[in-house]
Symmetry: C2
């Protein structure tokens, strides 16, 4: 079993997401994260799915995905040969006495402060999973009130497929 | 019909995503974007769904979502009272003669260059939809080779619910 990043181009039509997700759940795969949105062509969406799977199960699921109407292209992205990023928003408890510390920690991670209230700070951070986990661990003692992540997106590195 | 941002807390179990997505597709709603990933508690995931819906249809779908096992909480986030962000990776054609122009454009948008090859640049940008569309429009003439977006994630502004 190992982590796989599947990048799936699909036609942007109702029901496609359900059929793709259904294929994974019928086979008992838990999807770690899934992000889907339009590409630069609004009739086509790209789904990025991170799931734990053995190599042969993945081959089977890829074959079945191709059988679905509306699925155009599937790439199994090699983690070493792709750029991977995700975005997280975290709302953290911030009292007047702790606010400066939290801002300083955010700066070290190049996280942006995107909202401030009397008792909270909301931070935006992009990066890979390790970077996000490291920031999360440092902020936990203050109390994380809300946490939302996009799930990973990825593109193959540019040099691949070039002459 | 108007855009709604639904933030749905669910138990992190196989099949939950399929059931939630299925509910939308059976009612003929197209999901504009969907992002799902673990929260700071790995047993709980948060799904952020952007969909076009009339107010009364949304109420119905919310009721039905609550009937699903594994759905813990649903918030309909007001676009004016929430922080919204998404992350995009774009791979753009970049010849030696156009590279400097593209880097300059990226800097204006505070986009990061995350990969470089002989013929391409890969940019990472976070922001709201307008900012991303503006950068996309400026880069289109060079040729966008690949484009992946996470879909929107959002959190309510911190001052809400405070005393």
């Amino acid at each position: 079993m190992s982590k796989h990043i599947l990048s799936v181009l699909v036609e942007n039509k109702p029901g496609v997401l359900t059929r793709v997700a259904g294929l994974f759940s019928r086979r008992g795969f838990n999807i770690d994260s899934l992000a889907v949105g339009e590409t630069d062509d609004p009739t086509i969406s790209r789904m990025t799915i991170v799931a734990d799977a053995a190599e042969h199960s993945l081959e089977q699921i890829t074959k079945q995905l191709y059988k679905l109407v509306n699925v155009l292209k599937i790439s199994d992205l090699d983690p070493k040969e792709s750029v991977q990023r995700e975005l997280v928003l975290m709302k953290v408890n911030a009292a007047p006495t702790t606010r400066a510390e939290i801002v300083e920690t955010a700066n070290i991670f190049r996280a942006n402060i995107v909202d401030v209230s009397k008792n909270t700070l909301t931070l935006e951070i992009t990066g890979d999973k390790d970077k996000i986990t490291a920031l999360e661990d440092l902020l936990k003692p203050y109390g994380i009130k809300e946490f939302v992540r996009t799930g990973l997106i990825a593109l193959s590195r540019g040099r691949l497929g070039e002459g």
